[in-house]
Amino acid sequence: MSASALPLATLFAEGRLDTTAAFVLAGVLGLAFGFWLERAGFSSSRRLTGVFYGRDFAVIQVMFSAIVTALLGLRGLVTLGLVDAATVYQMETFLGPQVVGGLIFGVGFVMGGWCPGTALVGLASGKGDALVFLGGAALGSLAYAFAWPSLASFSTAGACGVCTLPERFDLSPGVTTLLVVAVALAAFVVVEVLAARRARAQA
């Protein structure tokens, strides 16, 4: 790693979330994020939930594209010595709450047709059901806060600190990258085949 490697810093980590620049930056990034989500077709709950019915795989395609882009970008920059990987902040893993939370999230996604971010995109493009969904999310957050005393112990269940795929499988980060990319490409192919078959069946 070359000496000129840039550290990765976040506004939060630097304690600069309350600066004007941070607000402007957050606004710009948020608008761009929302705009491109909308362009990717994420402002339609029909489209979003299509993935669960095998109709439309935009969610999988966009998510995997994002993961692959970020993965290749970050690992590429690290490999070129432009970014210092040691400064990338990593979340801790808590298997219990993350598995349960993921299931609840998925059920909510199927039933409501949105996830929190896309609901905001939907609201921005005038979808009434997104407003109802966000109201529900707010109520759920409140309920969670009030239930916190009895949930506190579960919130750290299955804690395994920072645990990453390369460590788990004892691979180098590069090989892990290749495997994730391979899985993503395979998923794309499967999705294409499924969509094509369904199109033919309907035709």
């Binding site: 990593q90 801790e92 590069g174």
Partner: protein, 490 residues
Amino acid sequence: MDSTRTKLLSALAVLGVAIVIAVVDRGPLPGPRGPAAAGPMARDTAAPPGAAPVGAGEDHLAPDEVARRLLDAPDTLAIVDVRPADEFAAFHLPGAVNLDLVRLLGPEGTAFLDANAARTVVLVSNGMTHPAQAWVELARRGRTNVRILEDGLDGLKATAWMPPSLRGPTTERRVAEEGPRARALAARLAGRKAPAAAPRPARWATDPAALTAPTVVSTAWVAARLGKVAVLDTREKAEDVAKGRVPGAVHVPIAATRETRGGVADEMLPVEALAAKAGAWGLSADTEVVVYGGDRLQDPTHLALVLVALGHAKVAVMEGGFGAWTAEGRPVAKDAPTPTPATYVARPGAFDFGVTLDDVVAASRGGGPVIVDVRPTKAFEGEKGPEVRGGRIPTSRSRPYTEDVVVDGGAVWFRGLDELRAGYAGLGLASDGPVIVSCRTGHQASQAWFTLRYLLGYKDVRWFDGSWKAWSLRADLPAETGPVKKKEAP
């Protein structure tokens, strides 16, 4: 088809990049191991004492390590502050010695280092430059127990002394673990004692099958006996009681048991008058009585005291009070009951625990009963209240009544046996010696009276109904003021 071709090409490009990365990128694994390692806290691994090549990092101590040893083992450190005297005077670490570089490297410093050869000598400045310069010279002279405070006082401020929630990426768990430590350090550096742990409410309920002597009972005990025992609500305000009460409870505010007598307000009614009142509340000498209040325990203890003065032994204070009762979802009634008047015959001579002003004047000269003043500290120190003057009875000792209880939400509980016992023992009281409890009107003192007599088993606890309001009216009686003296020679 053109789009298929584009897709194929993109896929190949992505795969190619991934393969290149797979070949080249063999680690190291991405760095920080969780939030605890992010930011300055990462430098937690401090150098052990011992021979100290700079290359091994054994020339410095991390701020966290210094903080840990300041709190846990201050005797193992000898801190030398090399800043100018005025900065040292403005702030320095506890136990630090001020020696600038010239003095540190001169005979004065040599004497200090010789005297502290068994300790870790920590060189401290705002940064690290001057300590590092001194360290090099001291290392050259063969001193192996000298360390530099890494990042100096500025570093200490930014890490161990900073609440973890302000240190960047954080988690609930980290705050829970490191927060108390940061607060303890802040307290130590500010020259205060570490903040005491919050007092814990205790449970005193004896819940006997039948009441035989004044005691404490639980809300559950009372709930199981509704309709079978008399319940008295001692809360002060009628409008509070009108909003809800324990079903069947008769409202008896303390004011109903008091009068102005001999120019002194809030004196307990004479026993005959109290007996008539007790009959009107529906009590007879054989009734089991439960008293409860809101978030103050001195209300029910005062009414218990009144009943004991009548010779009534079957009385219990409901712990937790109405706050606990409602929090537990127990039944609440809005309607005031109509008690069936009864004839109450007081036991003659039962009120043998009251003292007169003259008794207290005698005690204030010392040698007799110990006077315990349970008013808040400010009143004890002389802050003037509604009375004509402020101050305290000479030789009296302070034990604020609030230190006997814990208010938790709307509920109020006595504290635990060990805490109460230690608190009163600290005043130099003997459990078989005579004690006089006093406050402003006799109301708060009733709580100390109940605590000492029925929780801690003090045998001779006397109650000064007149308290400060009676004492202060007598211009000829002396008063002390000034800071609390917890313990005075008897």
